[in-house]
Symmetry: C2
Subunit: 350 residues, 2 copies
DNA sequence: CAATTTTCTTAAAACGTTTTAATAATTCGA
DNA sequence: TCGAATTATTAAAACGTTTTAAGAAAATTG
């Protein structure tokens, strides 16, 4: 790269008849500078169009004011919303973001990614890769101590790790309870791949609500799918073949709920009369499914913001010298959005 | 930030009984090092767990191996897909990504964002903010010369600016022609906000196809909406009130198409028999709308990849010293995905 | 007004690399 | 075996900041 900005702090210093250190002080305000010289310095900066080189500053400060974000599945609704939240709060706190995407959720090149981020001396890292299979086995107390402060999104508790996550169990229970309250008695679940931690949590939530109500929560009522609408459609078909008495479905995301809706249309099951359906995520489209989908809303952007806040706190604490920043776990409560697919049919043409 | 990696290149040098310069050479391979010493150096690195400080390296190299990405609307399908493509290709070429999001597409703090990126000495910038209203007025040849190489996504040609974009005009023409071929004669358009450049392009494509076929393309046939399903629903209602003879709709995105579908259901218009509908984007859900949506597929990830390739080329060229890298413009061709909402009804229960 | 204190400035030393210019160690013909 | 040519290595000088330790100037005392 050719230098576009060859004007350096000593250029400014010369022009202001002052030393480089003084320019630095005037700029950062870390030590006092007389009003007169500050004035001169600022004018020189203005006139020369000086822009501090953040790389040099980071080098000597041993802090880059940068956070690393490692994410997976940005093409999906949840992760991209969360990233927006992360970016907002990071900008708010004055951090820049270094983005790394994994193209598969499984193990792969975790080390390469972490090396790159630490080589760039990020102040902290947000690991926004969902826990699936054993892709998180590398995380342990020992390893974490050798890394900058980290926050993990959406994973099971682990010693030494700070976690921010939606309370998936509560969300699923909310959905299931709503169906129970509406008088449904045989409530199936269309799950995502059970290798995903969130899926297991959501199934657990579904089961706990049914158990509490004394209803059937046997494995025959869970149909696995892979998050896609196509799979949701197939899953419902299989489930109904097994249990024709199913009168409600809790789908672990809105897309699979959409597939289920699609199947109901095609097979002449009325929704919600014959089969009630509840989704998860509250994607923007879900209100426009036919019928409009009842679903569970996660606060995705908030998730990102909270993660950055936590990370910021940890960074500050480590700077203070209190080495063993105690890890924290935060669970965000989701909420139920009731629409037509689960209850009385109220909506009419706009 | 406390230093996690206090081990520096001179530590390695000492341990390998060699000078720092030699370690550097062994590592970068920029000048020859004897096999024996290289061996010793590599072992020392291994033993000490040395990791080069990329900030220091960037400082002296005057190049950070980093690209800045400025994006808007990551929570939507298109931008997030494109970002994925950008990241993939950037990783491929060895760049890290510095991400900045604008939270509104309009003018706002462009300068602050650019300053931050140049202060971090990015090698190039991808401006992935759609052109809406006058948010791109700041872009001119003069200004661009003072900035690192840039690629703009989805905007009108401007002197001195390199652009990568989908051929929206062609995509809209494709959709419209398809409806014409299916025998439709009164084809309305549900447009996004005409302040958006892409929207104007898509309307132009729609109009050109109709003009070529000698069909009505009057303003009464265009209904403005704001990209959302809600607005699409309302727009169709208004359009039908004005022109009850409409027998087909080209919606400028899938969400508005979804809203239109929704309105048709609610108002007892059959799709595609009474009204055929074509969308734009080919979101994953679109295949599961009821009926499945015919739509135009943009190659969004490809868009991002191409942008990075172009940028990489410009960076290389500028390094070579050929200062005035001639700006380039590339248009990616979209394709039509025919499903049920526009034609014969073929799909049955899965 | 001299003796302190306080407030500003500064030159020089970091920060952790790469590159330059010079030197030392090889290899190679003759 | 001797220079000449090549190949490896190094010490020192960048890169553009901040910080340290010290000194100068100004303000405050008695």
């Amino acid at each position: 790269m050719q230098q576009r900005h060859p004007v350096t702090i000593v250029d400014v210093a010369q022009r202001a008849h002052v030393s480089a250190g003084t320019v630095s002080n005037a700029l950062t305000g870390k030590r006092p500078v007389s009003a007169a010289t500050r004035e001169r310095v600022l004018r020189a900066i203005e006139e020369l169009g000086y822009q501090p080189n953040l790389l040099a500053r980071s080098l000597v400060n041993r802090s880059s004011n940068t956070l690393g974000v490692v994410a997976y599945g940005l093409e999906y609704y949840g992760p991209s919303r969360t990233l927006v939240g992360i970016e907002q709060q990071a900008a708010e706190l004055g951090y820049s973001l270094l983005l790394d995407l994994l193209h598969r959720p499984d193990r792969q090149d975790v080390d390469a990614v972490l090396d790159e981020l630490t080589a760039r001396r990020v102040d902290g890292i947000i690991w926004a890769v969902h826990e699936v299979g054993d892709n998180h086995v590398w995380i342990n107390e020992q390893r974490l101590l050798a890394l900058p402060p980290m926050i993990f999104l959406t994973m099971e508790r682990r010693p030494g790790a700070s976690i921010v996550s939606t309370d998936n169990r509560a969300g699923a229970a909310l959905a299931t309870q709503h169906l129970i309250d509406a008088g449904r008695r045989t409530i199936g679940v269309i799950s995502g791949p059970p290798t995903w931690w969130e899926v297991r949590e959501r199934i657990a939530g579904w089961r706990s609500a049914l158990d509490a109500a004394g209803l059937d929560a046997s494995d025959a009522l869970v149909a696995e799918a892979n998050w896609t609408a196509t799979a949701g459609e197939v899953a419902l078909q299989a489930l109904l073949a097994r249990r024709p008495d199913v009168d409600a479905i809790f789908a672990c995301n809105d897309q699979m709920a959409l597939g289920a809706l699609h199947y109901c249309h095609a097979s002449q099951h009325r929704v919600p009369e014959d089969i009630s359906i509840v989704g998860f995520d509250n994607t923007p489209e879900s209100a426009f499914f036919w019928p409009a989908l009842t679903t569970v809303r996660q606060h995705l952007a908030e998730l990102g913001r909270v993660a950055v806040d936590e990370l910021h706190g940890q960074i500050e604490r480590r700077v203070q010298g209190r080495e063993a920043a105690t890890p924290t776990t935060r669970a965000l409560q989701p909420e139920l959005i009731v629409r037509e697919s689960s209850g009385r049919r109220t909506r009419t043409a706009a």
